[in-house]
Symmetry: D2
Subunit: 355 residues, 4 copies
C-alpha cells in the first residue's frame, strides 16, 4: 500500500521549462502521478504547438491533446516551482529572468552546479554568463545536502554520472577509509543520458551490441564530483573519471576504486560504512549483492556494495541508479519536495519496473 | 497530479499466491503503490524462505528483509482477495481449496479462462480437473465485460496475447465491419511472457538480435480469443494466430487482418469504430499514429490504430500493450478493483516509463 | 574447408559508388574477402577525404589509411563492374553516365527495379528521369532469374523486404497452391535497413525495447513484390505488405499468408513445394523448423518453412534473411559473380556469425 | 581480394572435441571457411546424435544433416590437430588420453593455462589432476609468444578476458612505462562468454537493459593475466580485475589503469609504445580513436588506444576484442595455423560484421 497521502493542502503549481527532452518527459510522468503537484506549464520552444502525445505517445492517455507551449516569462509567473530542463549554456541565460517570478527553481542542467566560475571555461569551454548566481544555488543531492536544500529557492540538481559516483565515494572518504588521491571512477551508462535529438553516436546501429568509452580524461562531471566530495567531506579528492556507453536505455553503474587510508580495512568494514552513512534513507539500499542497473529502472533508488581487495590494496565501491530518475528527474522531484516542504518521497517510487 | 485518493476506508488485505514469477513481482510492485491494497501474504513454494529482495533486487527498497512464504490455505484465510499466479495445471488444483476462504480470487493463469472443458485437452493436451468451476469464472477483460466483473467472486484474467488481439478485433466485429472468417493475427511479443525460469529459448544469446515465430498453428491463446470475441459480439470468429518472439523485455504488438464485411469501409471509418467503442475508457488510446510497444511499457494503457486497404481488400487493426501490465498484473489489479468496489483505475498508471 | 578457389585468372576490378553507407560497408567487407574481386574505387561524396577506418573502424585492419574518394566518371573508367549504393533518386541520375564506361553495373537501390515507369510516381512520389533504362535492367534475384542475370550488363538488385517475401511466395504461387488475391505479408525487420544517417525514428532510445509497424499500406517494396511474382509465375499477385521495425541490427522475417488454391493441401505438401523449388540452391534451407533471423546474420543464406492451417483455411510461409547480406550486398555480390562469369557462391559465406 | 591461398598442400585434418558449445560452433564456422583445414570429427557427448543444424541453424546450409558424435579416442586417431572446447575440469581428464594420438592439441579451456599448479586450488577451488602437463603446454597468445607456439604440440589458448587485458598492459609494462603494482582492470563483456546452457544469470530478461559487476575480487582470469604479463615482461604484475556483464552477444572492452613509472609520460608516448609493440601485426590496430567492441564483432582483430592523465597521475589503456573470435576460437585457429606451419592469418578475417 502506498504511503503517499495528499493531505488537505491544495497542490503546488509547477512548470517544466524544456519539457520535450527525456528529463522533461520523465518530469511530466512524475508530476502526473504526484499527489502534491499540479502541472501549470510545459514549455518546449522547438516543439511549441506540437501535441505532447505525438512526440511522446507514452503520455497520450494522461495528457490527451495538450501541447507544448513556447516559453514566456509570463507563463510561469506566480508558480510555486519551476523545473528547468534546458541544454547547457541556455539555462544560464534564462534562469536570471525567472528569478523572483516563481517560488523555487530546480535546474536539471549543469549551468549552476559548479561554485567556482573558472571551472566553466576549463571543462565546458565557455565563460559563465551569470556567475553571480553560482553561489546562490544549492547543490541538489538530498542524501548529502538535505539541510541546505530544504526550503531553498535555487537548486542545481546533480548530474547523473556525478550522483552515482558521489553516492559511492562520499561515505568512504568521510570515514577516512580511502585517500583523496588516486581515485578511479569507471562508469557505464545507458543511452538516454545523451538526450532525444538524433546524433551519429546514438543511432541504434551504432549503440546496439556495442560498448565504448568516451570523453576520455575530459568528462564535464569530473569537477562536479570533486567539488561535491570536498564540500561534504572536506577532503580534496582527485578523480579520474571514465564513462562508457552501453546498449541500454537507462541505467548507470559506477565502479569506483580508491586507495585504502587505513590498515586492515575489510569488505565488511566498507559495507558497514556505507550502511551507516545511508541508514534511514528510503531510497538507498546497501547490500553485499553486486548491484545491477536494471533493478532500479524507473525507480528513485540507489543500490550500493563495497569490497576491499587486500591482495592488491584497493577499495572498490559500486553504485547503480536510473539516470533519468535518481540521476535527473526523480532527484529533481525529491529536491522539489524538500524545497516546497512536502514529504521528501512524495510521488517517487522506490520500486523499479522489472524486468 | 494523481487522482488517486485513499479515502477513509481501510485498505483491502490481499495475497499473492505464486509471487516469485514475473507476474507476481509486478503485482508486488503494484500493490506497494496502491492506496487501497495491503499485502498480507506473498507465497512462492520453490522460493519459500528466500528474501524477496535477493530474487528481485528491484523490490529491495520497499520489501527489505521480507521473505516468500510457503503456501498454506490458512495463510490466506479471510483475505479480501487473492491473486493467483501459478503455472497452467497447478492453478486448477489449488483454486478449489481457496474458495470460501477468501472474498475474491483473480487467477492470472489460463486454467479457468475457457468455458468449454473440451478445449483443454484439444489445446492444452490435458483434461481439466475442476471443470465444475469453468462456468463460475468471469472472463476478466474489464473494457469488454465490466458488468460481469464488478463484484465477481471468481475472475480469470485474460491472457496477454489474447487481450491485445481481442481489444483490436472486438470493435470491428461488433460493428459488423469485418467477417468472422479469415481473421489473421500476427503478433510480436517480448520475452517476459515466457516467465522467469531459464529455458533454452529464452537465454540472452538465443533471443537477442533475433526474431522467430513459434507455436505455429497451435498457440493456446487461440481458443480464448475466439471465445471472447463470440461472447462479446455474438460472431463466430475463426482466427489464425501466429506469435513471434522479439528481443525486448516487455511489450506485445498485435497486427490483425480481417476481411471487410461492408462495402466502402474506409480507414477513417475503422478508426471511428475503435474510438466509439473505447470512448471514456481511461486506458485506451485510439489514434491514427502507428502504435509502438515502448509507449506502453510499465503502464496499463492500450494503444490502437486501424487502416482499410481498399487496393487489396483488407481491414487492419494494430494494438499494443505491456504483457506484464495490461496483459497480466495491471489488468489483474483492474479486475481486483472492480471486484472489490474500488475505483477501477486505482494504483494503475496510464503513463509508461519512456524511454 | 572452403571450396573457394581463385584459379589462375587475375581478379576482376570493381568499384563501389556510394561506399560509405551500410550496404557499401558490407560490400567493402565482402570484396576484401573475395578471391576473385579487387577493389579499384570506393567513392562517397559526402565523406570524400575521410579515412574509411574513421567512419567504420570495423574496416581498420583491412583498409588502413585508405580514404573515400569523390565520384568522378573517370574514376570508374574501364572497371569490370561497379556496385552502386546510392539513395533513391540519385542512382537514376548517375547510372546513365556510367554506362559504357564499365563492364557491368549492379545497382543496389530501387531506381531500376520496376519495369513500369508509372509505378514510380504512384509509390515513390516522383517521375522517373531515365525511364528508357527500365527495360534494360534485369531484376537481380538469382534463385528466380538466374538465366537473365548471367552475363547481364545492368542488374537491379532486389530490395531486402521484397527478396524475403518473394522467396517465400513464389514457390507456392508457381505450384498453384495459393491464390494471387488475398496475400498478406507481415514482415519484421532490423534497423540497419534504414541506413546510417541519424533519424528520429532510428535512435537507440526510440528503437530499443520497441516494435512498431510503419509505412502502413504504402511501403515501396509492394509493387516490386507483385512484379517479381508475376514475372516469375505468371500470376497477378496482389499483396498487402506491412513491415514492422524490431530492435535488432540486421535480419528480416517475412511471415506470408495466402489462401489455398487447392483442396486438401497439407503442411507437408507446402514444405515439399518449397524444397523442390530450392533443390540444389546452396544458400536456401527449407525445413520444418521455424526459422530465426539470427541464424542467418552475416551470411547469404535464406531459411524457410511453411504450414497449412486446415482449421482456418490459410497457407503460411515464413522466410528469414540478413537484410544487408542476402537482402542487399551479399545478393549484389552473387549477382556480380553471375554477371562476371565467376562461381556464383564465390566470396559468400553460407554460415552466419552466431550468436 | 582475399590473400588466402590454398596452395597445393592437402588440407590438415582436424577435430573439434566439445563442438556443441559457442566456441565449438565458432570453430565449425571458421573451419568451414578455412582453405587449409578439413573437419574430420565434431563431438558433443550430450548432443551426440543431434543434427548440428537443429542445435545451430546458422550452420544448416553448410553442414546439412551432419550430426554431433560421441567422443571416443579412436575418433581422433591420427588427426593433425584437435581443438578441445570442454568445460573446466573435464579437459584435464581427457587431454592426457588424447596425447600421442594426434599431432597437436589446442585447448580452449582454462585447465592448462596456469603453470603453477597451486593456483588451481586457490582460484579454481580444486586440485589439478594432470599437473605433469602444465609445463608442457604453451600459453597460446600468438602476438606475445609466437616463437613458442610455432610448431608446438600442446597449446592452451588464452582466456577471453585475459587476452584483452594482456594485450593492453604488456606493451606498457615491457616499456617500463607503468608499475607492476596498483593495476586495475575494469572490463565489460558480452554474454556469450557464459556459454550456451541456460542459467539464471543469462536469461534475456535478466541481462537485457542491465549491467552488473560479477566475480568481485575472485575472477579466475586474474592469475592468468599476472602470469602472462610476468612471462612476457619479467615484471611481477599485480592486478585487480573486475568484470561487468553488458547486454550484448559478443565483445569485450578492457579498460586498464596503471600508475606511471616514468615522469612526463604523455598520451602520445603511450600510443607510440602500443604502436611499436604491435607493428606488423595484422590483427592489431592502435589508434587515438576510442575503440568500440562492435567494430571487431566476428573478426579476429584487436583495437587499442591509450591515454595518460597528468592531472591525476594515471595511465589508461583500452582494448577491445570479440570474445568468441580473438578471445577464443579465432585465436585458437591462429594458434593452430602456427602449430601446423600454415600462414598465421589463414581462415581468419580481420574485418568485423558491422553493424
Amino acid at each position: 500500500m502506498s504511503s503517499q497521502t495528499n493531505g488537505t493542502a491544495s497542490p503546488k503549481r509547477v512548470g517544466v521549462v524544456g519539457a520535450s527532452g527525456y528529463t522533461g518527459t520523465e518530469l511530466l510522468r512524475l508530476i502526473h502521478g504526484h499527489p502534491g503537484l499540479e502541472l501549470a506549464a510545459a514549455t518546449g520552444d522547438s516543439k511549441a504547438g506540437t501535441k505532447i502525445a505525438d512526440l511522446y505517445p507514452s503520455l497520450a492517455a494522461a495528457y490527451g491533446d495538450r501541447q507544448y507551449e513556447a516559453f514566456t516569462p509570463e507563463l510561469i509567473d506566480g508558480l510555486d516551482l519551476v523545473f528547468v530542463g534546458l541544454p547547457h549554456g541556455i539555462s544560464m541565460s534564462v534562469v536570471p529572468h525567472m528569478r523572483g517570478r516563481v517560488g523555487h527553481i530546480v535546474d536539471l542542467g549543469s549551468d549552476f552546479r559548479l561554485h567556482d566560475k573558472t571551472l566553466y571555461p576549463e571543462w565546458y569551454k565557455a565563460e559563465h554568463t551569470a556567475p553571480e548566481l553560482l553561489d546562490e544555488f544549492v547543490y541538489g543531492l538530498p542524501e548529502l545536502f538535505r539541510d541546505k536544500i530544504s526550503g531553498a529557492e535555487l537548486i542545481a540538481a546533480t548530474g547523473c554520472n556525478a550522483g552515482a559516483s558521489i553516492f559511492a565515494l562520499a561515505p568512504l572518504l568521510e570515514a577516512g577509509a580511502i585517500e583523496g588521491d588516486g581515485i578511479i571512477i569507471n562508469l557505464i551508462t545507458g543511452v538516454s543520458g545523451a538526450g532525444r535529438p538524433p546524433k551519429e553516436n546514438t543511432t541504434f546501429c551504432t549503440v546496439d551490441e556495442n560498448v565504448t568509452a568516451y570523453a576520455l580524461l575530459s568528462h564535464r562531471h569530473t569537477p562536479e564530483i570533486e567539488q561535491a566530495l570536498h564540500e561534504r567531506t572536506g577532503v580534496e579528492a582527485n578523480v579520474l573519471f571514465t564513462p562508457h556507453l552501453a546498449p541500454m536505455n537507462r541505467g548507470i553503474i559506477s565502479t569506483c576504486y580508491g586507495r585504502p587510508a587505513q590498515d586492515g580495512l575489510t569488505s565488511d568494514d566498507a559495507l558497514q560504512i556505507l550502511a551507516d552513512f545511508y541508514a534511514d534513507e528510503p531510497f538507498m539500499v546497501v547490500d553485499e549483492r553486486s548491484p545491477s542497473t536494471k533493478a532500479v529502472t524507473g525507480s528513485n533508488s540507489v543500490h550500493l556494495t563495497a569490497r576491499v581487495d587486500e591482495r592488491t590494496g584497493h577499495v572498490m565501491v559500486i553504485s547503480v541508479l536510473d539516470n533519468l530518475m535518481k540521476g535527473a528527474s526523480g532527484m529533481a522531484v525529491q529536491n522539489a519536495n524538500l524545497a516546497l516542504g512536502l514529504d521528501e518521497t512524495m510521488g517517487l517510487s522506490s520500486i523499479g519496473v522489472y524486468p
